[in-house]
Symmetry: C2
Subunit: 156 residues, 2 copies
Amino acid sequence: MSTARTAPLILEDFLPYRLSVLSNTISSAIAGAYASRFGLTVAEWRIIAVLGRFPGISAREVAEKTAMDKVAVSRAVGRLRAADYVNHAVASDDRRRSVLELSARGRDLLGQVAPMARAYEAKLLDGLSGEDRQHLERALSNLLDRAQKIGPLSGN
Amino acid sequence: MSTARTAPLILEDFLPYRLSVLSNTISSAIAGAYASRFGLTVAEWRIIAVLGRFPGISAREVAEKTAMDKVAVSRAVGRLRAADYVNHAVASDDRRRSVLELSARGRDLLGQVAPMARAYEAKLLDGLSGEDRQHLERALSNLLDRAQKIGPLSGN
DNA sequence: GCTGAATAGTTGCAATTGCAACAATTATAG
DNA sequence: CTATAATTGTTGCAATTGCAACTATTCAGC
């Protein structure tokens, strides 16, 4: 009875594993390109992208929108400020809050990097029909919702 | 002409970003559970899973099958040996090669963890129809193929 | 207004990781 | 057979990360 031999769990069919391999493969490819071309980490690039879209937000909001840790944001922003890609100010109505935005240099960088990112994404998606892509997007949204709801894997 | 303002790149729609967030969310959930229940890292768990399926393979083969770095494998195997989840021997025909397999304790652990992993996966996939799942699987395979072929993000 | 709780961001430290160098062994070329 | 190259696995070191503690500031209750 007890240890009823379950089938041995095929790692390469296990969804979390497949997602991890896929995501790591893609991220490494991208990270390598950003690093060699611009000396940027993926975290830095994400911050640039999000500041391009939401100029003036605080570090905390950046962390929210990029799904990064606030420490990671703090350090990445530090580097970006040092490299003059990002301007930093203190909110006048709350002097704890930072007000971040791209500098001219940062906007310029975004202008270069964004097309590369898009092109890479396009290459990836090239094999999927428009319908497939919609399916995929809905599936990913669905999975993320569930993963967030399920949370820390309630156990037995 | 020059800096033709491209649309500002919506991070939350960018496939690599979405995959990364999803994968990290899932991995953290799983990692937390393994850590608190069994003191296992995800890397260790992966090795256990793959050794359950392919007893007797070498460290290099484990690295291949788990998509881990060989150093990570070496260290994780070290911990697993110390905890007596994995047995280690040297191949008689090639004394560089290690021969790894689960110990009785390791098989027992796999017997406990595998159902949890399956249950989590099932919860995740609960919102997708059978058809959706097939779509998803094909899409993921397709994307991984392409990502591997495209490689380090050529050209600018 | 004052005190204690809450929030934003930074810093220090410990643990993890990644890469290069290394030792041991086996394969290959001549 | 010998010398060189290639492969397997481990170790050392530097860089990254993650967590907790900390500072500065604002908010909430009285």
